[in-house]
């Protein structure tokens, strides 16, 4: 436990609703370096509430980097300055005393703002609903060991499946493309035999909905991979493209 406190200036995006104008509001905070970034916001909110002021609306849930709920742009970087973590895993020891920190929502055309730092990412659910599954019902499935799957294939599928659906890839992409997100699900199911029967149909349906929802195109800047809290590789995007063209030519 550290006794020293960091004194920081926060510039936080405040916006009452999707149609109201928004702006940065400054706050001075003094925080333990052992606290997490979100705990710092909790403390700030607690003091705002004490003063009768509305706390900053932001989302988080598990605070273990797995649920994908938290989503802040910190000094212009999705989930802040460290690689491979979600916002909730960022700790204040990574900042310097006296620093000014800008906190913004994940911005993208497909992620309309709800309030302050909260955006609506339901477009990602809609892409999954278009085909991010194996079309089987409960019951009547073969024994789990009936189909052996090579260890490396299973591991590769797992790495793609580790996506937490936070939307950092979209928020960080200059085109607001969801290609990394889509490719992660397409790859997981393309790598496993269970996903093969619907392979072509799936990739076409998911890409179609992705385009309809206002996500941009991929121009290979790799920013998504750099900001992904789970380190989802852009090789998945290459696989998505292969799957997509294979599907097109199969008609």
């Amino acid at each position: 436990m550290s006794e020293i406190k960091l004194n920081l200036t926060l510039k936080v995006w405040r916006q009452q609703g999707p149609k109201s104008p928004g702006s940065f509001v400054s706050y001075k905070v003094s925080v333990s370096p052992d606290a997490s970034f979100l705990e710092m916001l909790d403390e700030l909110n607690n003091s705002l509430e004490q003063e009768g002021k509305e706390p900053i609306a932001f989302e988080s849930d598990c605070r273990e980097g797995i649920c994908g709920t938290c989503d802040l742009m910190i000094n212009g970087e999705a989930h802040g300055p460290l690689p491979r973590i979600a916002t909730c895993q960022l700790h204040m020891r990574n900042f310097k005393d006296g620093e000014t920190i800008y906190v913004e929502p994940f911005r993208a055309k497909a992620f309309p703002l709800v309030k302050d730092l909260i955006v609506d990412r339901s477009a990602l659910d809609k892409i999954i609903q278009a085909g991010g599954y194996v079309s089987i019902n409960t019951g009547g499935v073969p024994d789990a060991n009936a189909i052996p799957i090579p260890k490396d294939k299973a591991a590769e599928a797992f790495d793609a499946a580790a996506c937490i659906g936070c939307g950092a890839c979209v928020a960080t992409c200059k085109n607001a493309s969801a290609m990394l997100f889509v490719s992660a699900k397409v790859s997981q199911l393309a790598l496993l035999p269970q996903g093969h029967p619907e392979r072509a149909k799936r990739v076409e349906a998911m890409v179609k909905v992705m385009d309809e929802l206002g996500f941009g195109s991929c121009t290979n800047t790799y920013a998504c991979e750099a900001e992904c809290p789970k380190g989802i590789s852009i090789t998945n995007i290459a696989r998505l493209n292969r799957e997509f063209y294979k599907a097109k030519f199969s008609h």
Partner: protein
């Protein structure tokens, strides 16, 4: 007057579920679409139930307070899911999984429910693999297993340290498919505030739209609650920030009896508290105990760095006290032992933490092998604490993690309120007084995929419930009451913030209704909680409006319910004059400090009926052990 009938089918243990499935009434496929079912919660239990009921043809509506059905806290389960596959040929069977679970629960669960859980465990693994869940595999391509606390076989299936995530995303994908097919309608950012009961039958719910603040009414032929546990009553727990008791608590106040509220699980391997601003505690998977050795110094107040403490000064207390299970002793035993060592002044730096040391495993298996098994957990640890567990032992301490208690349900998972079903952690049914590791995922999915689809059909076909109109008086008055309650909270405009009061409640609960309890402490807790509740209603300060996205108000509403539940937990703990599993009363222990059960007087489920605030009536459901001999749990 509440009458509890567990409706356990007669006959041999291994035939009960099969016979029951045959004896239950079915709903004709063409009639299924005429029935509307409301599912609250999209964790493992809720998502799997909603998807499966949608597949069967029912009209399903699902609510979650999250922005997406993929976020529920099931996602954070790390270690794995148990199943009696016996793929390892190490002596596992349905009966052994059943027995381990009953014994692990310290003989306070229903035999029939637990046997069914063990029976369907194998179907769960098959189902998840078919969905494309990428479980860990061996080089030959078959599924890998690991061991977990309270078992001497390897029956835990896993996907690195992200098993809950992969299983939830599997259920979420099945749910997404049903949404796209139009069988399931998804309502996100909705929080259930109340259950609507008409003529003693559950007819729907009242929910708040968390974006607009609007109070909404939903009616259905049956209501399924899969809203998780209540560990956040402790303020600091491993539960997610938004996990809350409101749905089940409000149902309790509308007539559903609450079973075994005092059975809470304190998980032995969590990260220690760093300071006052701590918002929640982080769990480190119990699977780490497969290869990590737990120890403290033999010397009180030892401030040396762990690597400077020589082998001769180390006390591997679990290996010493429980040689056959060692570091894999069940959670309640491991947690209490850690607390004892720290209370004795032998914790890390003399404080509240013990060491979890991987140096032997790294020397034996190599760093790469450890990295493959636990790499992501080690990374998480380093990110949070700044220490590298490959070089220095982890520091861990127990934290509230899971609640075995919950709404009382019968064998069909229906509460005493007809039409109200309760699944997963929200019910009390399968884990007795202590849950074994990797069994929560199993229960959530068993309830959702393989139990409710049968039993809800039986209810609909037998009782033929009608669909109420949301213009009925019951809906209108419930909506009005809840609206007024929110306005009341906002109008108090006192001095204390929600978190301030919640932290105080948490301290009362942790100190007096936590890992070790006694009569005097529990009596004090009951008084203190009631006083704090009064203070809340006089002095809380909640800002903003009800007709808006207002997270301050959301937290206040949840806290108001915790301030009532906390009292019932203490009351139940006071009433249970024995120690069992996660419920440890210091007055009742063996000479060696182990939990001392009293089977003659307390082999029952305590099911509490709500009369008015501070007044409950306890009903007993006797636990009749027909097949298992009650024994003292021994892990020595």
């Amino acid at each position: 007057m509440v009458k509890l009938d567990a409706k356990i089918p007669s006959g041999k243990l291994e035939e009960k579920w099969t016979n029951h499935k045959f004896n239950m009434k079915l709903v004709n496929p063409a009639n299924k679409r005429k029935y509307e079912i409301l599912v609250v919660g999209t964790g493992l239990a809720g998502a799997s139930a909603a998807a499966t009921l949608g597949e069967l043809g029912y009209k399903v509506k699902v609510l979650t307070f999250h922005d997406s059905p993929r976020r529920a806290h099931s996602i954070a389960a790390q270690g794995g899911i148990n199943a009696a596959k016996n793929y390892q040929n190490d002596g596992d069977s349905v009966y052994r999984l059943f027995y381990d679970t009953i014994k692990g629960g310290d003989f306070r669960a229903r035999e029939a429910n637990v046997y069914r859980l063990a029976e369907v465990s194998n179907n769960i693994i098959d189902q998840c693999v078919a969905q494309g869940v990428p479980f860990a595999r061996e080089y030959g391509g078959l599924l890998d297993n690991r061991s977990f606390g309270g078992a001497q076989v390897s029956r835990t299936f896993y996907a690195k340290g992200q098993t809950g995530q992969q299983l939830l995303l599997g259920a979420y994908s099945a749910l997404s498919r049903q949404i796209s097919l139009g069988n399931v309608t998804m309502f996100t950012r909705r929080e259930m505030l109340d259950l609507v009961v008409e003529n003693d039958v559950a007819k729907g719910i009242i929910a708040r739209n968390l974006v607009t603040g609007e109070i909404e009414k939903y009616s259905a032929h049956a209501v399924v609650l899969a809203t998780g546990g209540y560990s956040n009553v402790f303020f600091l727990s491993t539960n997610a920030m938004n996990c809350n008791t409101t749905a089940i608590w409000r149902a309790h106040k509308k007539g559903a009896v609450f079973a075994n509220p005092c059975y809470t699980q304190i998980h032995p391997t969590c990260l220690p508290v760093h300071g006052e601003s701590q918002s929640k505690l982080t769990l480190m998977s119990e699977s780490l105990r497969n290869d990590g050795r737990i120890w403290v110094s033999k010397i009180k107040g030892d401030k040396r760095k762990p690597n400077d403490i020589p082998e001769s000064d180390r006390d591997y207390y679990l290996e010493r006290k429980y040689p056959s299970f060692g570091n894999l002793s069940p959670r309640d035993i491991s947690s209490r032992s850690a607390k004892e060592a720290c209370d004795d002044g032998r914790g890390a730096d003399g404080g509240e933490a013990v060491y979890l040391d991987f140096s032997d495993a790294i020397n034996r298996l190599g760093k790469a092998a450890i990295e493959e098994k636990y790499g992501n957990l080690f990374e998480i640890y380093e990110v949070i604490t700044g220490d590298n567990p490959y070089q220095t032992p982890m520091k861990i301490y127990p934290a509230p993690h899971y609640t075995m208690g919950g709404l009382w349900v019968d064998y069909n998972l229906m509460s005493n309120v007809p039409g109200l079903f309760v699944l997963g952690e929200a019910n009390f049914s399968d884990h007795g007084a202590n849950r074994l590791g990797a069994s929560a995922l199993m229960q959530g999915l068993a309830d959702g995929y393989f139990v409710i689809p049968y039993t809800i059909g039986n209810y609909l076909a037998s009782d033929k419930p009608s669909l109420a109109s949301t213009d009925d008086e019951a809906f209108k008055s419930a909506a009005k009451e809840n609206d007024e309650r929110l306005k009341k909270i906002l109008s108090i405009n006192g001095k204390r913030t929600v978190d301030d009061i919640h932290k105080q409640l948490g301290r009362i609960m942790w100190n007096k209704v936590g890992m070790a309890r006694n009569e005097a402490g529990l009596k004090e807790a009951i008084k203190e909680i009631a006083a704090l509740r009064e203070e809340f209603w006089k002095d809380v300060k909640v800002v903003g409006k009800a007709e808006d996205l207002n997270q301050n108000l959301e937290r206040a509403v949840r806290l108001a319910d915790y301030l009532e539940l906390g009292e019932l937990m203490a009351l139940d703990a006071l009433n249970r004059n024995e120690s069992c599993g996660g419920h440890f009363r210091t007055e009742y222990q063996t000479e060696e400090g182990e939990a001392l059960r009293n089977d003659d007087e307390y082999a029952f489920v305590s099911a509490w009926e709500f009369n008015e605030l501070g007044k409950w009536t306890m009903h007993k459901e006797p636990l009749n052990y027909e097949f298992v001999k009650l024994a003292q749990r021994s892990y020595k």
